[in-house]
């Protein structure tokens, strides 16, 4: 992947790294599809690169050495799907928070499973407060 992106950048002038995300296909042998988008400001065309990875080893090449913008997007993809990027050392949570268990955009993460940082109060009744 890194070699391919390098060629795209140097030979075909795809100088703008648009996006990286993943698609979860539960049940497929290669569960995650990692999708990259590139854009060439010279030729004004886009290209989409897909690669499939296994659930047990969701690792793809990182593009931070080629495009600075890849850093944040890879962190987001790691947050949401647990894809690891080889070569990106900074995969701290970005949209989620420290201590969040699991990856919410995986299809097997229940939508309403909350992991609150602050313990909830009991429900509030009307006019219970004293000023």
């Amino acid at each position: 992947m890194l070699a391919l992106a390098g060629r795209l950048k140097s030979e075909f002038a795809f100088d703008l790294f648009l996006d990286v995300t993943a698609v979860d296909w539960p049940g497929a042998p290669l569960r995650f599809e990692v999708v990259h988008h590139f854009y060439s400001t010279v030729h004004k065309v886009r290209v989409r690169v897909k690669q499939r990875v296994r659930e047990a080893e969701p690792v793809v090449d990182s593009l931070v050495s080629l495009y600075g913008s890849a850093g944040y997007m890879e962190r987001e993809c790691h947050d949401m799907y647990g894809i690891r990027f080889r070569g990106n050392d900074d995969l701290r949570p970005i949209l989620l928070y420290e201590g969040f268990q699991g990856h919410p955009l995986r299809k097997d993460y229940p939508k309403q499973l909350e992991q609150p940082l602050v313990p909830y109060r009991p429900p509030q009744r009307a006019l219970e407060r004293e000023l």
Binding site: D15, L16, F17, L18, D19, T21, V23, D24, V35, H37, Y39, T41, K44, R46, R48, Y67, G68, S69, G71, Y72, M73, E76, M80, D90, R92, P93, I94, L95, L96, Y97, E98, G99, P104, L105, K107, Y109, K111, L117, V118, P119, R121, R129
Partner: protein, 410 residues
Amino acid sequence: MTAGIPTPTIPNPVRPAFTPSGRDDTVIVNIGPSHPATHGTVQIIAELDGERVLRTDVHCGYLHRGFEKECEDHTWHNLIPYVDRLNYCSALINDFAYCDGVEQLMGIEITPRTKYLRTLLSEYSRICDHLTCVAASLMELGAMTAFLYLVTVRDAMYEHLAALTGARVTYSYGRIGGLAQDVPDGWFTRLEAILVEYETYVARVHAMVDRNRIFIDRLRNVGGISTADALHWGFTGPILRSTGVPRDLRRDTPYLAYAELDFDVPVGILGDNYDRYYVRMCEMDESVHMIRQLMAMMPEGPINVVDHRCVFPEKTLVYSEIESLINHFKLVMDGPSVPEGDIYVAHEAPNGELGFYIVSSGGGVPHKVHVRSPSFVHMGGVHRMLDGHQLADIVTTFGSVNMIGGECDR
């Protein structure tokens, strides 16, 4: 403290990228996420040497509301209100970009009137967005008058859009295959009156700000970035254009009715805060120019295509014949049937390239809707504009980037 609330130990939701560097003359300052200078919720952890910023670590995600997860739980129609709340300054552009994506997946060609109306409303939204951004960033420099002028115009626009869509900020006006309804009578007449009002107020702001020594000193040569750096960090929109590149999707890969319009792409020279301010001001003028052209060439005709897969039947037919009733029922309960496939659609949002990557597995509910939001990408590179400048310049630079929380964190 009110009785009954135990004081819990609050864990820190983020972890900074760096620890103190060991030098005893630097200090680490935390700005945000609830801070008047960061309009929106973003946290900047900066290491300072005196007043100079050595390095910064930008944290976002304080407004991560689970947009993409919600999308996978709603039908193609029902998620339009969620799409609205991405960039809430210009909600219509999000609507139309999303609808455009779904329509391309379904192979629908929208009617000419819808095409022109969407273009017009996109430009109208762009003016609202730039007004908000310029107003907020000028207010942070103390220009309360400019803020009040611009918000006055924006409020007229909000009320005007409310007459069309029923809401002031979040419109939910786009539909797959058309729009919610046609424009009411007299709407275009009022639009022209608002554009004249806009010109009066913006001329006053130009007169107050453009050659004002205070603003030039605060904005010129602050937060500058080169074209190569901007591309490396994925910047698009006014930030990239302020560095001198006329890159605009409306011109490069025309969509909607932009191919038929006459407009310029304003560019800057240095890519600093002043250029960004000025590019935004010029873009608003271009938008007004485009709206006037679109009003002149607005065709008559229907706004919704005839396609039973996604467009709701007439209400009178729903009540009188069984086929329409079933059609309506299926659209509400199961959602429109979008063929299997994936697509990436990009529109030029006020902040840059707004891309929707939509994956359908053939049902009435999307398999995945991913947003390539300009604000999020800009946050990834904003430290390039902050480092090396003064602490007070963070305020102006951040204002000129126009980070929108809903779009950045989704």
